[in-house]
């Protein structure tokens, strides 16, 4: 019995390790394609897939946001200088995807973040296209 238990313990540990890895592995899959003249971003494992988002300046654009985990996320864009909110996307749990209609941003550097997890943040580069 003890010998069997001795064999079972590593097996159980390995099973737990595999289960933990499987749980922590992201859903993965191909990145969503950005709409014409717009941008795309993915949230998974409490992080965005990129730290910089390049968008057209001076005109409204579409932003495809794919949330690949059950935890609720969104994308909010704030002005780089004043910190004023320029756009706040719907917060939703995944796996799901939304296409945000973002109003025109001035040329320059802005910030984006998830309103639920403020540590999830990055830069928005608005450039004339």
């Amino acid at each position: 019995m003890t010998r069997h238990a001795g064999r079972l313990v590593p097996l159980a540990l390995a099973t737990v390790a595999v289960a933990a890895c499987a749980a922590s592995t992201s859903a993965g899959g191909p990145l969503p394609s950005a709409p014409l003249g717009g941008a795309a971003i993915v949230a998974d494992d409490l992080a965005f897939d990129r730290g910089t988002l390049e968008v057209p300046a001076g005109r409204p654009f579409l932003l495809v946001f794919e949330n690949r985990e059950g935890v609720p996320h969104n994308v909010t864009i704030v002005d780089g200088d004043s910190g004023q909110v320029r756009f706040a996307g719907d917060i939703f749990g995944g796996p799901a995807s939304r296409t945000y209609e973002v109003p025109a941003l001035a040329v320059g550097t802005h910030r984006f973040r998830c309103d639920v997890h403020l540590e999830m943040a990055g830069e928005v580069l608005a450039r004339p296209r």
Binding site: L46, E69, G70, V71, P72, N74, I91, D115, V116, H117, L118, E119
Partner: protein, 141 residues
Amino acid sequence: MSIIDALHRSEVRSSVLVVRTGIVGLALATAAIHASLGGMIFTLNAIGYTTLAMAMVLPGPFGRYRWLIRLALAGFTAATIGGWVLFGARFPLAYLDKALEIGLLVLVTFELFHLDGGPIEIGRRARRLATSLVGARGVRG
């Protein structure tokens, strides 16, 4: 007279039981919501609520300092609500969670008045505890 006293005592006991069950239930519910949000801050918050919920019902030495645990739970809940008002995201699950936390705060405040005698008595107990701690340190030193 003694029958009336006994009945009154049993009523008080059952009302305490109902309120205590509400406190533990609401604390665990808000802990579950915070745990579901992931991330360091929410996980620590969930651990805090779970620990305080357990301390509210654990027997033994915890019973003697239940007033302090109630005070900690009230402070923790108020701080969580305040943090959300200042920095939190506005979405349906967050509003539900705040409703649970306000309910929790109401029940804990009820116990603080009903079982601990309100702010003046709690202040007295806190002073006594601080004096005994300082005294114990003085004896050791």
